[in-house]
Structures are given as C-alpha cells and as structure tokens.
C-alpha cells in the first residue's frame, strides 16, 4: 500500500514556522514615496537592483493589499494624517521601513512644515540611513526585516499574534 520512506516525503514543523517562512519571503511593499527617496526606491524595484530576488517586488499602491509600508521621503504635517490612515488600512501583520534621513529623523528639513521622522505618526521597524540610501542599503533593510520576522515569537501582536500559535515562544 505505501512503500516509501515516510521521513523522505513528509516534513514536520510547527505551524508558526511555516507562517513566518511564508511571510518573510513574500513581503508586499506599499511604496509611500513622497520625494527623492522614492526615485531611489524605483531603482530598488527595477532592473539593476531588482528586489524581486528577495520576494518583495509586488508593489501595491493599495494599502489593503500590502504588509510592508516603505516610507520614502519627508513627511509634512499636512501629509501626516494621510500616512497614518494608510498605515491603519493595512492588514495585520505589518511592518514599516523608514527609508532615508527624512523619514527617519527629518533629515535636512528642520522646519516648521516637516515631521522630524515618520515615527511621529507610525511605528517604524527599520530605519535606513542615507540621503537617499543606496539601493543596497534598502535591500539590506528588507533582509534584516526578514530575519526579524523569522525570529519573531508568536506573542508579539504586531508580528501577527492572531495567526501564530501561542506555544511557539514557550
């Protein structure tokens, strides 16, 4: 009836591990590009640097279809509510990369109009320095984020507590 070696054909693991593996290899970015960094973000997505090598090329301009918010550029006070709204519209679990000096800390724009970092309105997981950062730096941030996703314990709500089973961290 069954003559194969069962161990060769079946892999046993924990559900949480599979879910994390799937999540980290299919991040769908929502490029929230406002300024210069958006142009460099386009380089990341296109020919030479090609972020699809890391499974994150499916850029979605609807936040409802994305789980990785890439804030690229300075965020003005006028823009801040829009950024927050987009973050809120994204389904859990979700992550945020602040690309560049402006999104991280306001950059050179220390003025009345600019937020001194996107983290004033959304929680940021990964900051990428540079003005703008090189595409390699952005790819590095994505890889580091993938590592963090695969290390995450199931308890962290922002890492998807609803889906990952509880026993995992124990």
């Amino acid at each position: 009836m069954f003559d194969g070696n069962l161990e060769d054909m079946i892999m046993t693991t924990r559900l949480g591990e599979v879910v994390k593996w799937a999540r980290k290899n299919s991040l769908w970015p929502m490029p929230f590009g406002t300024s210069c960094c958006a142009i460099e973000l386009m380089s990341v997505l296109t020919t030479k640097y090609d972020i699809s090598r890391f499974g994150a090329e499916v850029a979605r301009f609807s936040p409802r279809q994305a789980d990785l918010l890439m804030v690229a550029g300075w965020i003005t006070r006028k823009m801040a509510p829009a950024l927050r709204k987009i973050y809120d519209q994204m389904p859990e679990p979700k992550w945020v990369i602040a690309m560049g000096a402006c999104a991280s800390c306001g950059g050179p724009h220390n003025s009345y109009a600019v937020l001194q970092g996107a983290d004033e309105v959304v929680p940021v997981d990964m900051y990428v320095p540079g003005c703008p950062p090189r595409p390699e730096a952005v790819i590095d941030a994505v890889i580091k984020l993938q590592e963090r996703i695969s290390r995450a314990s199931g308890d962290e709500t922002r890492q998807g507590a609803a889906l990952a089973p509880r026993q995992e961290g124990a």
């Binding site: 380089s43 829009a82 600019v114």
Partner: protein, 399 residues
C-alpha cells in the same frame, strides 16, 4: 470627443467629487486633485498642493549661500546637478563673479547628463502610467549607468551638491570623459529601442495624441516653460535665448512641435535627449584646461592641507565657513533651462553671508497650473496622461 448616442445627449447626471491622491501612483508623488466628474468625463480638476512643502525658501534665510546648495538637490530631485548649477549661477551673479571656462564646461556637461537622466525617468514613469510597464526597465537600465557616472563624479548617485560658489567641488575624476563617451556612444541605440516600442505604437499614439491640448497663446499665458512650451509651438529655450555658462559655444537644435498635446510633449522630450547627448559630446571634446574654481580667497576656500599649516589660510577658510560669502546689497534673478523648464532663483540680499529672501521659480509649479485647463472635458483616464506628460516633480512644486 463625446461619442454619446444623440437620444441621450440631453441626459444629465449629478456630478460626483472624486479625490485623487495625495498617495496615488499616477500623481508622480504627492499631488492631490479634487476632480468633479460627470460619469467618466472630468468637469473640473482642482489641484491641492503643499503635501511636500518643506519650507526651503525659509530655510534659505538661515543658511549661508554655501550651506543652501544641498537643499537645491532636493527641489527637482530627478536632476539635482542642474539645480546645483542654477543656484550657484544666481549667487555668482549676486557676487559679480564668473566661473572659469573649465568649470563652465563641466557644468554644461552636468546639466545635459542630468537632462538625459531626468527625461529617462519621465519616460519610464509615463509609460508605466499608461500601462506600458516594459519601458521603465529599459529606462532605468540606462539611468543606472548615469547614476554610476554621477557617483564617479560626485560620490553619490543622487543629491549631488557638486557645484560651489565660484566653481565646483572638485575636478573630473581620472578617465571620466572616456566613461561618459562610452555611455553616450551606446545611448542612441538604447534610446532607439525605447522609441521603437512607443513612438509608432498604436495604443501609445491613441492615448497621447490630442490629449491635454494647449494652444500656443494659452501656453504663454500660463507661463509654461521647457518641453511643455516647446510642444505648443514656441521655440523658447533659455540656452539659446539667454545663454549662460558658455552655452553659446555649443551647437544644438531646439526641438519644437506644433500640436501642444501629450504626444507632442513626448516627441519633444525624446528629441531633447538626443540633443543633450550632442551637447555633452561637444563639452567633452572641447573641455578646456585650467582651474575649476575662481582663484579668489574670498570666494574659494584654500586647499585643506594649506588651511592646517598656515594662519592666513585658516582665517580665510574660517571667514567663508562662519560668515559666508560677503554679498553686496541687491537683488538678482538668474534662471537656467532645467529639464522641466525655466528654473530660476531670485535672491534679495541685505549684505552679508545669508540671503534676506530667496524665491525659487520652479518650472513644475507653473507647468502644473495649466493641468486643470488641459483635463477639462476629457475622460478620467486622460488625467493620468496629462499629469505624466507635464512631468511635474512635487519637491519642486511645493518647495
């Protein structure tokens, strides 16, 4: 335009207000439009600006002339080199100095490479907006080569801050001319590839021809400049009309189209890339020797080695760094033909190292003002075509 059946022409529906942006892939950044639509037809389009306003003009009042150079990168961040040149030319006009011949030629080279780079980005994004996604990968392949050259020259791929008041940050690196020439030599065949995919493409033609038409008179009245103006039949190019930085030494044609629609703007920019290549080649061939900075200790800081060894030079450096260039009282305006059009800096000086007021005349802002007129009565999908063909960069619009 409206191919409605005669029996239903009298039917009117209530118009609907549709919000487009500020986060929308078709608005090239953070432009927000309030569209009033009657079915699929746009009744009016009201742009709402300020989503990228960073207060650069205010920041300028608290920076020395030298310190403001990096902020000019972040205006039209698609072509930072050309903004650098525009700004220092205005400051040099205020100080009453002129850059050395070599610096002027290198600036021309920078401007034209930046023009190619900016137009490639426009081509890629406009094609993506109209559904021809392939083109952006071709365009960015070429743009990456240019970014590599910019990195060679300035140390960074974007946001170059390469020019200095009275000259340049440093000279061309070794072998730079031959690398630029290698790029320019193969560029026409790469451009032809993109041209072949679009220019006589039926879908491209139908989506661009007759869309966003503006008449010659309206184009002038709205203050359009750059490719958008030349596509409406006005042969106005500041490089010819008011030559700066030795542009009078270069041979090139100014492409002009009569139709004033999106297709004409497309054709003009495609030809501008070929002309920019021509100018860049001439700049390399005739590159003069000599210093790259004005040999005036009040303008150009001495070399670092000498600052550390000599008291006199340390004081000169200190003066420039701390107090800035001592500008006389007065007002100047200087503008250049940037990739998007006339980019001008208007400086009011009360004397001293900082401007009293600095106004940036950005081409994207003025070009965008014609957008509402261009889309009225057109279909909703044409709004994207019109915005792309005007090629606004919001960093420059909001400043």
């Amino acid at each position: 335009m409206n191919t409605t059946h005669p029996a239903v022409t009298d039917l009117r529906t209530e118009t609907m207000t549709l919000n487009m942006g500020p986060s929308h892939p078709g608005t090239h950044g953070v432009l927000r439009l309030l569209l009033e639509v009657d079915g699929e037809t746009v009744v009016s389009a009201q742009p709402i600006l300020g989503y990228l306003h960073s207060g650069k003009e205010k920041i300028a009042e608290h920076r020395t002339y030298h310190q403001f150079i990096p902020y000019t990168d972040r205006l039209d961040y698609v072509a930072p080199l050309s903004n650098n040149v525009a700004y220092v030319l205005a400051v040099e006009k205020l100080l009453g100095i002129e850059a050395t011949p070599r610096a002027q030629y290198i600036r021309v080279l920078c401007c034209e490479l930046a023009r190619i780079s900016a137009h490639l980005l426009w081509l890629g994004t406009m094609a993506v907006d109209l559904g021809a996604v392939t083109i952006i990968f071709y365009a960015f392949r070429e743009r990456e080569k240019l970014n590599r050259l910019f990195e060679d020259l300035t140390g960074v791929r974007m946001n170059t801050s390469y020019t200095r008041v009275g000259g340049l940050a440093w000279d061309l690196p070794e072998g730079f001319e031959s690398r630029v020439r290698a790029f320019l030599d193969e560029f026409p065949s790469q451009l032809k590839e993109m041209d072949g995919l679009l220019t006589r493409n039926r879908i491209w033609y139908d989506r661009c021809r007759g869309v966003g038409v503006i008449s010659r008179e309206d184009a002038i009245a709205y203050g359009l400049t750059g490719p958008s103006l030349r596509a409406a039949g006005v042969a106005w190019d500041l490089r010819k009309a008011r030559p700066y930085s030795s542009y009078e030494h270069f041979e090139f044609d100014v492409p002009v189209e009569e139709a004033g629609d999106s297709y004409a703007r497309y054709l003009v920019r495609m030809e501008e890339m070929r002309q920019a290549r021509r100018i860049a080649l001439q700049a390399i061939e005739r590159m003069p020797g000599g210093p790259i900075s004005v040999p005036d200790p009040k303008i150009t800081p001495p070399p670092k080695r000498r600052i550390l060894c000599s008291m006199e030079e340390l004081i000169q450096d200190f003066e420039i760094v701390v107090f800035g260039h001592r500008a006389p009282k007065g007002e100047v305006y200087h503008s250049i033909e940037a990739p998007k059009g006339e980019l001008g800096f208007y400086i009011i000086s009360e004397g001293g190292g900082k401007p009293y007021r600095l106004k940036i005349r950005s081409p994207s802002f003025c070009n965008l003002s014609a957008m509402s007129k261009m889309v009225e009565g057109r279909l909703l999908s044409d709004v994207v075509t019109v915005i792309s063909s005007l090629d606004p960069v919001m960093g420059e619009v909001d400043r």
